[in-house]
Symmetry: C2
Subunit: 192 residues, 2 copies
DNA sequence: TTGGTTAGTGATTGGACACTAACTTATCCG
DNA sequence: CGGATAAGTTAGTGTCCAATCACTAACCAA
């Protein structure tokens, strides 16, 4: 039996939860599945977190944080077009290498909407704050132009959805995402 | 007791399912909830549809169809910028008036990804085909330019997600979505 | 080594849920 | 009218699942 500190365990629970919730969403994922992935008994999760909801929330927050870090790292020391290209490439690589993260993003969006619909604004506030940080992580390197940033994020969202739907890389719908001569806008479509 | 033909009932089941699945997704929605909304006993759903999955599939398909129709109707007889503006306005109105349809769209995307992940490609094919029809409904009126269409769809997706997250209309993240010279809301087309 | 704290488990419970089976009632038509 | 058919119901089954409880095993400091 390998013992860990509660903090370390919580960490692995969050990682496991990100993968599991990514596939099944909140309701489609059992705490048992998460526990199994962690290698720990199911009841023990409830000693590390107060509820299933809390686990989901932690996973969502982590997902946003990870994504923001990708943008920050990619654009470090760059600005304007160079930053844009770097961030686009980094993001494309992220969703190619780690589809779970893409999935978890989408799961987070639908969960927020559901929470808001029943009057729970706490989850929403966290997600809006987290997403805004991502927005800002792109905004500054891109020259702090709202329209530019919005366009960048818009292309990113389209890429998310096309990838989620499973269109093969050579499908027509990806066409308009090819960069022309140089990279003027949008997360770059070098899909692996 | 009001009796309907099975066909009519199926129709109301699909409508009800769109609303319920929109909120809770596949796993978060019970057939009981759908039945209640229809005003019919829960087991009766299984005489109208073979399974819960079939109901979800029908709801997804209908959602895509409805969305396509919105574009088609809006752009009827128009082309170029006029068509673009008409479609953008119509779509903005759609997601403002009927948030369920927006939600159901997102639910469809995550469900497709989940289905693909477990090797079920049937649902994915239907959704990809349906979404392509939407894409084409925008493509032709916009002058059959792939980049133009892609940009249009990208802005639409960003709007979807911002709306789902519940950012209030006056929030900064909406800024770059204002049309410059032309009238207000909507997926914006030509970025100079 | 002993006493306290922290990590972790097995058993269980109460509720929800998809789906089946068997029965009832409205409606249409000859 | 009368009976066939289609619309609908009530009751029930097996399964799954979040959360609780009472307990055991490892670590640690004096």
């Amino acid at each position: 039996m390998v013992r860990m500190s509660a903090e370390e365990r919580r960490e692995s629970v969050i990682r496991a939860a990100m993968s599991e919730f990514a596939r099944g969403g909140y309701y489609g994922t059992s705490t048992e599945a998460i526990a199994k992935r962690v290698g720990v008994s199911q009841p023990y999760l409830f000693r590390l977190f107060p509820s299933k909801k809390a686990i989901f929330l932690a996973a969502s927050a982590r997902c946003l944080e990870d994504t923001r870090k990708v943008f920050e790292k990619a654009s470090e020391g760059l600005e304007g077009e160079a930053a844009l290209h770097a961030m686009a490439t980094a993001y494309s690589r992220l969703i190619a290498d780690d589809p779970d993260k893409l999935q978890m993003q989408l799961q987070t969006y639908v969960a927020v909407a559901a929470a808001e619909a029943v009057g729970d604004h706490e989850f929403g506030e966290m997600v809006r704050a987290g997403w805004l940080e991502i927005w800002e992580a792109a905004h500054l390197p891109l020259g702090a132009d709202a329209r530019e940033t919005t366009t960048f994020m818009a292309f990113g969202m389209l890429i998310n959805v096309l990838a989620a739907m499973g269109y093969p890389a050579e499908h027509r719908v990806w066409e308009g995402l090819q960069l022309p001569a140089r990279p003027p806008e949008g997360p770059e479509p070098t899909r692996a």
